[in-house]
Each structure stands twice: as structure tokens, then as C-alpha cells.
């Protein structure tokens, strides 16, 4: 991994110097801020069962399905379309370093953006100093979920980008895969609850990959190792496939 840091630095520099990053961040924070504000308004109207940060983290998937494709669709597809991939691969780097560099850069941006949303509970706490606004267990659990699941989501985006020359196709592909993974597993889990018993192999698999259930656990402060294994192994699989795609599609 001799060239990994050179590539990572290059990618990060590119991200930080690109105006689109700031534009995307602005709109992301705007939408997330709006969601947080709507949650607080609900509290204003009637008492709620869950903590505001709890509900907020449960809504994470709405921006994810849009944000992840936008962050990753450009990475490999654009380089390939412009022919930069060929010239990169004639230097002594290998495709693992290339994919890893792109992945880590996009992941850091993703995590960075989510960490910025910590400002909402912090600002709320500043005006309403109530312990429950900054509930440590739910925030630590929730944000570790964001960091863990982000690995898989970003790797899905990177794979989609490695499979296509067109940014648009890569974007739609990663949107569909993320939608399937988050919303699809939820729908399947609901169906499985009705028709299958708890020990059925299919139900075990569906429950294992039920992202919305994971976020509920984590944002309650329950850190379970099974989803962590799921996200880590899924990430490795997606990145390996992306490396194969880069090697194969020259």
C-alpha cells in the first residue's frame, strides 16, 4: 500500500477544493436541519416516546440514498470516461490502492458530513439545557451506526462507480442497491414476520441484514457486534468486487 496515502491525499485535496462538495454539504445540512426542526416541532405539540436524537437518527436513510450516490458516482466512472484511469494504471500503483484511496476519501467526507449534524443537538442544548437533548448513549450508539453502516453504503457506491463508465448509470445503480438494502430489507422483514417462524433460515438472513432494525438498536445505545460484522464483511465484498471491476474493465 505504498501509494495509498498519495492517492488518498490527492482525492481529499480534490474533494476539498471542489465547489460541488460545499454545495452538496450545504444542501445536506439544510435538509437534515429541516428534519431536526420538524422533530422538535412535534415535541412542541405533544409528548413523544423517543428522544429527539433517536428519531433523528432513525431518519438517516432518507439522505443516505441520495447522498451516497452523489458522493461516489463520480469517483471511478468519471476517471474512466475521461481516460484518466488508463494513465493512472500505467504508474506502479495497483487497483487495490486505487479503490482504497477513492473509498476512504468518500467515506471520510460522508462521516464528516454526518458529524456536522451533531451541531443540531448541540445548538438545541445551548438554548434548552436539558440532559435528554444530548443523550450520550443514543448519540454514541447512533453515530457509531452511521460510521459502521457508512462503510458498506460508500463501498456500494464505489462498486457502482467501478461498474459503469457513466456517472448517471453509476448513480442510479447505487441508489437502487441502497434503496433495496435499506427499504427492501425492511419490507421483506415485515413480510417475513407474517409468514415465517423465527428460526427459518430465510428470516434469519433477512433479520441479519435489516438495516432499519440495526439503527433502532444502535440509537437506543445497544451496540451489537453482529451488524458490525455484517457491515464490515459487506464492505470487504463490495470493495473486492470493485477491484475486480477496475482490473477487468480496462
Amino acid at each position: 500500500m505504498k501509494h495509498f496515502f498519495t492517492l488518498l491525499k490527492h482525492e481529499l485535496r480534490r474533494i476539498l477544493l471542489s465547489p460541488t462538495t460545499y454545495l452538496a454539504s450545504f444542501f445536506f445540512l439544510l435538509v437534515m436541519g429541516l428534519i431536526y426542526q420538524l422533530i422538535l416541532e412535534d415535541y412542541n405539540r405533544a409528548p413523544q416516546e423517543m428522544l429527539p436524537s433517536n428519531i433523528f437518527l432513525n431518519m438517516f436513510f432518507i439522505p443516505v440514498v441520495f447522498l451516497v450516490p452523489l458522493l461516489t458516482m463520480r469517483s471511478i466512472a468519471e476517471e474512466r470516461r475521461m481516460g484518466l484511469m488508463d494513465s493512472l494504471l500505467t504508474t506502479p500503483i495497483n487497483s487495490i490502492e486505487l479503490v482504497a484511496g477513492k473509498f476512504v476519501a468518500a467515506y471520510l467526507l460522508y462521516v464528516g458530513l454526518y458529524l456536522l449534524t451533531l451541531a443540531y443537538p448541540a445548538i438545541t442544548y445551548y438554548y434548552f439545557p436539558d440532559e435528554r437533548v444530548l443523550d450520550k448513549a443514543s448519540l454514541i450508539g447512533g453515530y457509531s451506526f452511521i460510521c459502521g453502516s457508512g462503510l458498506l453504503f460508500i463501498s456500494i457506491g464505489i462498486l457502482a462507480s467501478a461498474l459503469s463508465r457513466s456517472q448517471l448509470v453509476a448513480g442510479i445503480f447505487s441508489f437502487s442497491m441502497l434503496f433495496g438494502l435499506i427499504v427492501g430489507t425492511n419490507a421483506l422483514a415485515n413480510q417475513a414476520d407474517l409468514f415465517l417462524n423465527d428460526y427459518d433460515a430465510v428470516k434469519v438472513i433477512i433479520d441479519y441484514s435489516h438495516v432499519l432494525e440495526h439503527v433502532k438498536d444502535f440509537s437506543r445505545g445497544v451496540i451489537d457486534t453482529r451488524p458490525i460484522i455484517f457491515y464490515l464483511s459487506g464492505t470487504m465484498l463490495m470493495l473486492s468486487l470493485a477491484v475486480l471491476a477496475v482490473d477487468h474493465k480496462r
Binding site: 481516460g83 494513465s87 506502479p92
Partner: protein, 349 residues
């Protein structure tokens, strides 16, 4: 180990197929150390495919390629440390500055610290880019971009430089500079250049390889190729006098001479005659001596013209097409013989 290797590039019976289309078929050639070789061929002849195989970007279906004695297919990482590659169309990141880009590429090529800084300064100066160092690549003209591509290819002082159409889109001044630049690499690095600008190749390259439809159709120095494909030479004469009897006079100088064209200007009794004939200096002398002794013809001017690389290129590719048309199943490219010298006139048209 490397010193004992005679060839910088060695290609043996390379074949590459894209589905049912054969891009290159049984190509073999080699480059000695420090040699500059031009790689010519019409569009779709397989030049870029061969170059991509040499850089390890794609793999061949059969055959073998060696860079400095190292097989490309089995040691792609090692050969990447020995080559500088400028791809076709020279893709560059439009959002980087020239200096930053070279620094990034230098780091990827495992150059460090002072050596990298020194080399960047050197290539910026060599390619006349020093003033554009801080400019964003996206805002630069084609000429600048081509020079950035060349600067990048020679940055790490590789043993082998592979350039796919480096002079495309440049103006004559820039072509001149690039030509000098490439010539300055002679003896230090082995360079293989594909190009369509044939006079450039003739001036800079030690040797020329012409491929067509995936076969090597000619290989050698420009003068060797001239001997093989177009051993004839054109003589341009301006003769005053009536055109009658001119043919017999010319034939009497040498029976090998034939008139390709004769332009007479009415009223002035001037003929502009173009002859085809064997390429040797004696013919010129004989023509001058013969015409100076004739009372009714006056030789006003004469110059001889050897076949250009363009003529050779056209002749070589045309001949390979003819052979292929006669024998569509032909799969191997055997060297062409001097059996059928072609008149210059047909090729030049």
C-alpha cells in the same frame, strides 16, 4: 541484469482479438536501447492496442512482450517502473495545476523529495512549461496539454517511453520544439512514437515500423524502406523548346527513365517535365550533360526528389491491402519483397 539485455522492447508474435475482431496479428519487433522508433499505420491498424499491451494495460491473446527483458504479462508492476506512457488523446485532470499534477504523478512513480523537485523543474524547463506551472490544466490550450503529457512521460527518467500520437493538434512551432525534445532523448531512453505526422517521424526516428490491419508490413530505416518500397526517384525538369521529340531525347539518356507528366505552357515553349527513374546521382549528371548539348532544348532547372515517408507509408499499406485482398485467409505477416516496385506516380496521387 538490465545491462545484459540488448533490447528495451521486444515483442514476439503478439496477437490480440476483441471478440471476433483481430486488432493485431502475429506482430514482432524490437527496440534497442536508446533507439527512437516511429510506429506508423492507418487508423485502426492496431497501434494503440500494441502500445496498451506494452504498458500492461491490456493483455494479449497470445505472444509475448518484454520491457528491458522483463515479461509484461507476468510482471506488470515491475515494467510500470520502467516506462513512461503518454496515452492517445492525452487525458489530464482538468482541475489540477500543472506543477501539482507533475508532483502527484512523480509521487505515484515513486520519486521523492529533492530528486522529484529537481526533475519537475527540469521537465518544466525542457517542455517550456515553467511559466504555466501555476495554471489550471483545464484552462490551457492543446499545445500546453500535449507538452504536459510529454513532461509527465519523461518525468521519472524511464528507460522506455511510449507515446501515442504526441504531436497531434500542435502548431508548427510546437512540433519543432517537441521534435527537438524527442531527439534530445536519443541514446538515453528508448522511445516508441506513433504518429500521423510523417515528416516528424522521418526527422526524429532511427527506424520506422509500419503496421496495417494488425500486421507489420514494413520495418527499417527510412532509406531501407525507400529501397524496398519505392526505389525510384522523381526528376523535375524545366526545359524550353518544343515538346516534340522530348520523349526520345529523355529515353536516350537512360532507357530506365519514363515521363510521368509533361506540362507545356502555350506561347512560352516551356515544358515542365516530371520523370521517374532509378535513384542515383549519375542520372542527374547525364541529363544535364545531354540537354546542354542539344540546340533545340534548353535545360533551365532540374531537381530530384526521393520518395517521402508518406509515399512509403502509402505504398506499404496499399501493398498489404492488395496482398490481403488476393489472399483473405493470410494470417502471418512475412516481410515484403522487392519483387514489384511501384511507380511513384501511383502512390503519390
Amino acid at each position: 541484469m538490465e545491462d545484459s539485455v540488448e533490447y528495451s522492447i521486444e515483442v514476439k508474435n503478439l496477437t490480440k482479438q476483441y471478440g471476433r475482431i483481430t486488432a493485431i496479428q502475429d506482430i514482432s519487433f524490437s527496440l534497442k536501447k536508446g533507439e527512437i522508433v516511429g510506429f506508423l499505420g492507418p487508423n485502426g491498424a492496431g497501434k494503440s492496442t500494441t502500445m496498451k499491451i506494452l504498458t500492461g494495460l491490456i493483455t494479449a491473446n497470445s505472444g509475448s512482450a518484454y520491457i528491458c527483458g522483463i515479461p509484461v504479462a507476468t510482471h506488470p508492476e515491475e515494467i510500470k517502473r520502467k516506462i513512461g506512457y503518454m496515452p492517445e488523446n492525452n487525458p489530464l485532470p482538468t482541475d489540477m495545476r500543472v506543477g501539482e499534477y507533475l508532483k502527484f504523478r512523480g509521487k505515484l512513480k515513486e520519486m521523492k523529495g529533492r530528486n522529484l523537485r529537481k526533475r519537475i523543474e527540469y521537465v518544466l524547463e525542457l517542455c517550456d512549461l515553467a511559466r504555466a506551472r501555476k495554471r489550471v490544466i483545464g484552462g490551457l490550450s492543446k499545445g500546453y496539454r500535449q507538452r504536459i503529457g510529454i513532461a509527465e512521460a519523461i518525468l521519472s527518467e524511464p528507460e522506455v517511453i511510449i507515446m501515442d500520437e504526441p504531436t497531434i493538434g500542435l502548431d508548427p512551432h510546437q512540433i519543432l520544439k517537441i521534435r527537438d525534445l524527442i531527439s534530445s532523448l536519443k541514446g538515453r531512453m528508448s522511445v516508441i512514437i506513433s504518429s500521423h505526422i510523417l515528416p516528424e517521424i522521418e526527422l526524429t526516428c532511427d527506424r520506422v515500423i509500419i503496421i496495417n490491419r494488425g500486421y507489420v508490413v514494413a520495418s527499417g530505416t527510412p532509406s531501407e524502406l525507400r529501397q524496398e518500397f519505392l526505389p525510384e526517384c522523381a526528376y523535375h525538369l524545366e526545359i524550353s523548346g518544343s515538346s516534340e521529340g522530348l520523349d526520345t531525347e529523355i529515353k536516350s539518356v537512360s532507357p530506365k527513365l519514363s515521363i510521368r507528366s509533361n506540362e507545356s505552357f502555350p506561347g512560352t515553349a516551356t515544358n515542365r517535365v516530371t520523370l521517374n527513374g532509378p535513384s542515383n546521382r549519375e542520372i542527374g549528371e547525364q541529363l544535364i550533360t545531354h540537354f546542354s548539348g542539344l540546340p533545340n532544348f534548353k535545360l533551365r532547372s532540374m531537381h530530384s526528389q526521393e520518395a517521402t515517408l508518406e509515399d512509403i507509408f502509402l505504398a506499404a499499406t496499399k501493398r498489404s491491402w492488395e496482398i490481403q485482398a488476393n489472399d483473405p485467409d493470410r494470417l502471418t505477416a512475412t516481410p515484403f519483397r522487392k519483387d514489384k516496385p511501384q511507380p511513384v506516380s501511383e502512390e503519390a496521387e
